[in-house]
Symmetry: C2
Subunit: 181 residues, 2 copies
Amino acid sequence: MLRAAVALFIRKGYDATSIDDIAKSLNVTKSAVYHHVSSKEQLLAEVLDEALDELDSAVDAATRGTGPASERLRDVVRRSVEVLVAHQSAVTLLLRVHGNSDTEVAALRRRRRIDRALASLVNEAVEEGALRADLDPDVLSRLLFGMVNSLVEWYRPNGEISADQLASTVAALAFDGLVRA
Amino acid sequence: MLRAAVALFIRKGYDATSIDDIAKSLNVTKSAVYHHVSSKEQLLAEVLDEALDELDSAVDAATRGTGPASERLRDVVRRSVEVLVAHQSAVTLLLRVHGNSDTEVAALRRRRRIDRALASLVNEAVEEGALRADLDPDVLSRLLFGMVNSLVEWYRPNGEISADQLASTVAALAFDGLVRA
DNA sequence: GTCTATAGGAAGATAGAC
DNA sequence: GTCTATCTTCCTATAGAC
């Protein structure tokens, strides 16, 4: 039921998906759907919480870690990729939220906290001397996780690339760049 | 009029924005809006065409160029950043399109052509030997332009960073990576 | 070019039977 | 748990006056 809703939210967008669409995709009527959920917004809230909980735990592990910031950044990049792959639907919806309802505003708030924690980590790694200091660390952070997040738009788990390979590719590109060493 | 519509499409999403929302933001009535445009979808089509025309021309320049592919790739990354900054609203909407109407499907088709051209360029640059060959070129292309495209979600032209600086930062990160040289 | 008024339909959500 | 029927609200779009 949640799965059917999420699939439609992703394919058509949350606003363009009606409860009737969800019902039809399950071969039942709207009323049957409303027996299981109290509102369309609640469906969205559940999915967004799934994504935020996973991202929170990935970021918390990196923030609480003891090693060098650059190593913790590498870890959180890898773990983020794994979360995006394992919870792709939920994260995809999270990344598309604009703030149109209380649910969405709350999700955006949680997301901003995560983004700030990641930016702090990048700043730390630059101050440590492990990362280049000639570029604005906040911009680097945005670009780095913009790249990571973008994979929800094209990655397909059934293809040739495993989550592990993908995480390695992302980390290699982000840390060492496109140019042949 | 188009500007007002686009601002709302971005803030609330296309589907969540009604013609009445657009009218109110201009202090007129719905009917006044319909005097200027034939439908809400037509408004979207105009904006998407603006974005696609600009991106097409950036990609065409790189595709038709004669120099090494790696240099043309560098150029198209820079030019893409400039296009995203100069036409941020239009590109933002393009990147959010799902294919819910004929207009959106047509836009997605044009966008896929562009993505394929960029992927070809990355492949060429790898074959040339200028870019690392240990990572899948198609994945690299997706990640690279995923990073580039992600900037529409946070870049603000009135801030401290100029489009030129941003283009340099993106190119530096993409080609040389985060790690201190 | 802008207005009021309204047509026509689709949406979220509920009531109550089975 | 699922149905039919319905309420209410909102939406796109048009007609016709000024």
